[in-house]
Assembly symmetry: C2
């Protein structure tokens, strides 16, 4: 993990594009603290208001790269904005107006980025004129300040083929950079153009006009990103115990998809070589073993998560290792819905 | 939920088979309390030691329908057994010996059921002679007391075709009942023959020789079990907020697979009619809308989970509704790894 943090910080050290590490991938203040300490960062990225409330304890510049909607969320964003620099994404007049109203109630100013759909077909305004029109409204609405644009190429970050990933990311980012130029040509501010992820940090992060990259998974990695040609090492493992060895070529460990999600496929088995998860139930990993594998009931077994973000979200603490030695226990403080835990 | 609890209790009221509701499906003491209060129960079923530690606060007869292995887990089971009736599954000599050693260290007695593989091909001893041999060892090991057998037909509980589910469940349960007879013929005790789930409760629960059913999902239900012909109603919903309405036929809600898992497929949308989740990312549900749907940014949207157990495991509280009114907030106390939360 320390090497991953250092490599990413070094990549962005020369600028002009900087890193805004995404908290959603680890939800762990101790990791975010180390990412910020490594340098090259503009601040932190969060996906939820809960994450931002936790991250605000260690960082004074936070982007929620998502559209907060609903009076509860917007009031919490506005409350944070009375203490630190808060920026959120907007992609609708209704969303913009709600953030602005909450900010005015709190006597705060919330920064906004207009969220562009750069091809993911999830949230986001179409690049071009619609974006300029929403940006103009943001620039003239009290309670918010227009800071620029955001566009997440989430449909491209996992493409295994480097040439395809590179070419398609350049086209997506061209939409974003061109729309940023339209904003400036219309006299609107556009200091921030935020994009990118672990699979595209070295593509989007070197395109002129992109000012910051929201990568998160690089810090702990998973088997999905491990298929790509990125210089980051697997740093996260789930440690299970073999609870059953019913047949020579089968064992069962006590970690199912309540411990590691399978939305990106089954976790990988570190050893013995040739072992593979063949079924992942709520509390069980059924593992096919190679012939003559020496695996016994009680053995510990390391599994590599296929998707870091939702896997982290299942756990309350991380055990920090130096080699094989546990040196610390880090609370995953932004897991789940901390506002409920605090009130409960 | 109240109707589901009542219907299941009524089914088992006549006996001789009883219900041992599975806590893993809801992890919520307030729900378990209501299940026990409705009657027809032998006690509670848990999947993990953590769940048992929480359930022990409200119930004095708990089965961990799973093999606890490792000194930490077995010592915690033994500690519980000094206070309440604890039974666990075993399927190996190593596992049996470890539970027994922990029990002796604690000065406790832990009940054991030999776990049979009735076709699921996960944990479990093969029916027949292997089972008798492990049962004999259990009967002669101090620290444990042999209570009988368990066999979970988990590969059959979700079969949509009633005739196939019925026929295959009867064959699987015949293995279990026949092995129970072999134990008794060998002079071994076999008071408990535990099996079943929500999809097979009315099949396995009416087979002579099965003494208790471990159903759990019936209490809250999900869309996977909703496909079956079981008389239980959907009682669990995730309430999201529409945060983006980028196109006439698309909206995005703020609940992704960190809120509802997709291991059994996408959640269903309650209304508008014809709306369907087309992508479920970490924090987003992208929903295809029928033409002319009147959905706006800020609207609340109800999603029906496809798999209750892992969905519950993502959350810290349940909001209890009477009609549309929130009447209580119930901690999901056995979510995650409570032993870490207590020490942290």
């Amino acid at each position: 993990m320390e090497r991953n943090i250092r490599r990413m910080a070094e990549f962005f050290a020369a600028g002009p594009c900087r890193l805004r590490p995404h908290v959603k991938a680890h939800k762990t203040p101790e990791i975010a603290r180390r990412q910020l300490a490594a340098g090259s960062c503009t601040g932190l990225t969060c996906a939820t208001v809960s994450e931002a409330e936790i991250a605000a304890e260690i960082c004074r510049d936070i982007l929620i790269a998502n559209e907060p909607v609903g009076p509860g969320k917007c009031d919490r964003v506005a409350a944070l904005a009375t203490r630190i620099d808060m920026t959120v994404a907007v992609d609708s007049v209704a969303g913009l107006d709600e953030v602005a109203a909450a900010a005015r109630r709190a006597g705060a100013t919330v920064g906004v980025l207009v969220d562009l759909n750069v091809g993911q077909a999830r949230c986001g305004v179409a690049p071009g004129g619609d974006t300029v029109s929403l940006a103009r409204r943001a620039a003239s609405t009290s309670g918010v300040v227009l800071r620029g644009l955001m566009g997440y190429e989430g449909h491209l970050v996992g493409l295994a083929d480097r040439a395809e990933r590179d070419a398609r990311t350049r086209r997506a980012m061209a939409d974003l950079v061109r729309t940023a130029a339209m904003l400036r040509a219309s006299g609107l501010p556009c200091d921030v153009v935020s994009a990118g992820g672990t699979g595209t940090y070295d593509i989007s992060g070197r395109i002129e006009g992109i000012t910051e990259i929201q990568a998160g998974s690089y810090v702990l990695m998973d088997s999905e990103y491990g298929r790509l040609d990125v210089p980051f090492e697997q740093a996260l493992w789930a440690l299970g115990t073999v609870i059953s060895r019913p047949e020579p070529t089968r064992c069962v460990a006590d970690c199912g998809h309540k411990s590691l999600t399978k939305d990106h496929g089954h976790p990988a088995v570190r050893d013995p070589a040739g072992a593979a998860v063949v079924a992942l139930n709520d509390e069980h990993a059924t593992i096919a073993l190679p012939p003559h594998a020496r695996v016994q009931v009680g053995d510990r077994i390391y599994l590599r998560p296929s998707h870091v973000d939702p896997t982290i979200n299942l756990h309350d603490v991380l055990y920090a290792l130096d080699g094989d030695r546990v040196v610390d226990v880090w609370p995953i403080a932004a897991r789940g819905y901390p506002e409920h835990r605090r009130s409960g």
